[in-house]
């Protein structure tokens, strides 16, 4: 399962990263590393790009990069689920 497979309101932990791409390394510098917990907030029209919450910061990335992050789903963030 990768970041690209999450749905709105899902909370997930990053388990593995294919770090070859420069933009993936940039995302890692912004806090998307193994062990980090993220919340899938939104997608733009047509489902791409995505918006993630990374410890208080909204980060956007394209699905292509999202597929480089293997995740495990941890359930939904309660308040987001209620609204979703």
């Amino acid at each position: 399962m990768t970041l690209a497979d999450l749905r709105r309101g899902d909370r997930a932990r990053i388990e593995s990263i294919d770090s070859r791409d420069k933009s993936v390394q940039r995302l890692m510098t912004m806090g998307l590393v193994e062990g980090a917990e993220v919340v899938y907030l939104n997608a733009s029209l047509g489902g791409d790009p995505l918006e993630l919450d990374v410890y208080g910061m909204s980060v956007s990335l394209r699905r292509e990069q999202a597929r480089c992050f293997g995740v495990s789903r941890m359930g939904a963030k309660p308040d987001v689920q209620r609204r979703g």
Partner: protein, 734 residues
């Protein structure tokens, strides 16, 4: 408790030791850095929500109990690994690698309490530089609302006893403590070299061992960065210092540190591992305060509401620029016309009256009238930037930009270009890839900037009937079409370039989206006032000068033969007519004389020389001359037309639009036919008539190649567009 080592009062530091120092102001994008800069220095500086808008080098002076401290406000960065042109500036200044900017004596680091996780990454790297340093924690009040409290003393201890001060930049709470800490840091001894990643530091020290540390070789920090980022320049410098054998040592050190993974990935894992441990200790949860505002914002960020909102916002801007400005424009129009008329009453006929009324007032006035529209447009762009909406727009439009070969990152500069291409092109510095950036730079001048508005508004008001079809106004449709034409030109250009000269890898869209926030009224007012000043300065200098020069060219040389003919015709009229008829005849004689004067004036002769070039577009020599005069700045054309047509105007034609409508060729046919006007509008939509834009393209691409290309390409495109429309249009009309 808002500061750590706050026990020593400023007065305890001997004044002699307080030398003038420079500190770098560094932080993540949107961390409140620029607001703090304004607070500390009182200097005006733009703050906005889009990561990377602070692209100029901003220096201000803070007074710490009378002692000056210079601050350099650097563009926002996430780490010492730059990703775009403006981030590179920040890192180079920090590491003392920018000519003309000395390495900062200390660092004032800003970290947003709501995004401390990311902020601590940069703080580690900054602390490792080993300069005196003070950390400002901003938005602690916002973090408290979200349910987080901080142990500031513990945070300071974790960073190696670097003082941390909590400041609310909007109210100024905590500033006194901050100033005291800065005064202490100014005179502090260099801190012992700390490292949050000891193996990297050890490897760098190993590579530098035995070298003369006082020489011009790379510093410890530079060697560390080159190990992680594989920077070839730093490697060369190391080879120059230590000999060619060092290369194998570098390879060995990298293999040991990174185990075959990219250095940046290993660094991120290591540093965030440390951060998670620290956050567990310094943060504690408090019950969050639920707010209706955040509920609404979350909903508005969803795909469909956000898309609807995007179009509503765009429509609102469009509507505002054209509907709200009208009363103000009418007011300015009445004022300039009234001024011209009263001066005509006071001054005798002759050179001086003509210079002031026909040259200065008609010329400058016809441009000033568009100030309300331009201000409303800029107000909206500034508001969109300051609230964080532009980054949201980029997120929404990213997908639509892909077929063009660009990303949502290009949207922010392009939206700014609707106000003015110059700030738009400067905002491209946040685009990481050079090819994406140049394609965006070349697309920007196509978008309908505020200087095109006067030309469009004048021609549309004069020649497109104000007819309503259903619910839409015909004039509105033409204007909308012109905006679309500009967008099509820009997108087409980017598309072609990305498939030819600027072919390259697909751009990505990694962007930190700022939270929506209410605009800071002070920031908005200051930014808007800046634009008013720029506009009025232009009207008072360039446009004034061009208007006077064009007036002089249109007025001189006065022909004695024309005067004599006119005097004779006047005598004949006085002998043959009386009363109303005489007045009419005299007016006719005056007009014919004015037209004859204009035609043999310097401007008339120049216009006639260039006229053949523009005859295929249906232009007469007057428009040709005005268009040529408009190449330095396109809004000048309105001033020039104002002056040219004022010189030979009939008394009952008060407005420039009326005068244009009655312009005729020598054979009596109308000059401004619909195909010709539409062609002229297309010419203005595409032609690059702006020296300021060319200069900024030259500066940003660092070559003459791109501005020359942009100018030639857009001029040819504008000419061909006008040619096609006029030739086809007049055939259909015939």
């Amino acid at each position: 408790m808002s500061s750590v080592a706050a026990s020593i009062p400023v007065d305890a530091i001997p004044r002699s030791r307080r030398a003038r120092a420079t500190f770098a102001l560094v932080g993540n994008p949107n961390s409140g850095k620029s607001t703090l800069f304004n607070r500390l220095t009182g200097l005006r500086q733009k703050t906005a929500n889009y990561p990377g808008v602070t692209v100029e080098k901003h220096i201000g002076t803070a007074l710490l109990d009378g002692t000056p401290l210079d601050l350099i406000d650097l563009p926002g960065i996430f780490s010492l690994t730059p990703d775009s042109a403006d981030e590179r500036i920040a890192v180079e200044v920090l590491l003392g690698r920018v000519a003309g900017t000395p390495e900062p004596d200390g660092i004032l680091a800003v970290v947003d309490a709501t995004r401390l996780y990311q902020g601590l990454y940069l703080l580690q790297q900054l602390a490792e530089i080993g300069r005196p340093m003070v950390v400002v924690l901003t938005m602690a009040d916002a973090a408290a609302r979200l349910g987080t409290r901080f142990d500031i003393e513990k945070l300071s201890a974790k960073l190696g006893e670097i003082p941390v001060v909590s400041v609310v930049a909007t109210t100024g709470k905590g500033l006194v403590d901050l100033k005291r800490e800065l005064a202490l840091a100014m005179t502090a001894e260099p801190r012992p070299l700390a490292s949050f990643w000891p193996p990297l530091r050890a490897a760098a020290q190993q590579l530098l061992s035995g070298a003369d540390t006082g020489s011009a070789g790379p510093g410890l920090q530079e060697v560390e960065r080159s190990l992680v980022e594989e920077d070839p320049v730093a490697t060369e410098r190391l080879v120059a210092l230590q000999g060619p054998d060092i290369v194998t040592q570098i390879e060995k050190a990298r293999a040991e540190l990174f185990q075959g993974e990219p250095g940046l990935a290993v660094e991120a894992r290591h540093r965030y591992g440390w951060i998670r441990g620290v956050l567990d200790e310094v943060q504690s949860a408090a019950p969050p305060i639920a707010r209706w505002g955040s509920f609404v914002v979350d909903w508005m960020n969803r795909p469909y509401p956000a898309t609807v909102l995007f179009f509503v916002v765009m429509a609102l801007v469009f509507q505002a620029v054209f509907a709200w400005a009208t009363p103000f424009m009418d007011l300015i129009d009445a004022a300039t016309t009234g001024l011209g008329e009263s001066i005509r009453q006071f001054l005798p006929d002759g050179v001086l009256q003509s210079l002031i009324v026909d040259g200065v007032i008609a010329g400058v006035g016809s441009v000033i009238i568009f100030l309300p529209q331009i201000l409303i447009l800029f107000l909206f762009i500034i508001l969109l930037e300051d609230t964080g909406y532009l980054a949201r727009a980029a997120f929404l439009v990213d997908r639509a930009m892909r077929p063009v070969g660009l990303s949502g990152q290009s949207v922010i500069p392009l939206l700014s270009s609707f106000a003015c291409a110059v700030p738009g092109i400067m905002a491209t510095r946040a685009i990481p890839d050079r090819r994406d950036r140049i394609a965006t730079i070349l697309a920007a001048p196509f978008l309908t900037c505020s200087a095109r508005l006067p030309v469009y508004a004048l021609l549309i008001a004069a020649f497109v009937p104000s007819q309503t079809i259903g619910v839409v106004n015909l004039q509105g449709i033409v204007l909308f079409g012109l905006y679309m034409l500009g967008i099509a030109g820009g997108i087409g250009t980017a598309l072609v370039l990305r498939r030819s000269a600027l072919r390259g890898p697909k751009p990505n869209f990694v962007l930190a989206l700022p939270a929506f926030r209410l605009p800071n009224l002070r920031t908005v007012a200051i930014a808007l006032l800046d634009r008013v000043k720029v506009f009025l300065r232009r009207a008072g200098t360039v446009i004034f000068l061009v208007a006077v020069i064009v007036w002089a060219l249109a007025y001189f040389p006065r022909s004695a033969a024309v005067e004599a003919d006119a005097a004779a015709a006047r005598a004949v009229a006085e002998a043959s007519y009386a009363g109303v008829e005489l007045t009419q005849q005299l007016a006719r004689v005056d007009n014919e004389a004015a037209a004859a004067h204009l035609e043999q004036s310097a401007l008339g002769r120049v216009g006639k020389v260039v006229e053949p070039v523009f005859t295929p577009l249906g232009w007469d020599w007057k428009i040709s001359a005005a268009v040529i005069a408009g190449f330095p700045a396109r809004e000048v054309v309105v001033a020039v037309l104002g002056t040219i047509y004022a010189v030979g105007a009939e008394a009952d034609e008060s407005s420039l639009a009326d005068r244009l409508r009655s312009a005729r060729f020598a054979d009596g046919s109308r000059v401004f036919t619909l195909p010709m006007v539409l062609g002229l509008l297309v010419f203005y939509a595409w032609c690059l008539q702006c020296v300021a834009t060319l200069a900024v393209i030259r500066r940003e691409t660092n070559s003459w190649r791109w501005p020359v290309f942009a100018w030639a390409y857009m001029t040819v495109l504008g000419y061909l567009g006008a040619l096609l429309i006029y030739q086809i249009g007049s055939r259909i009309a015939a």
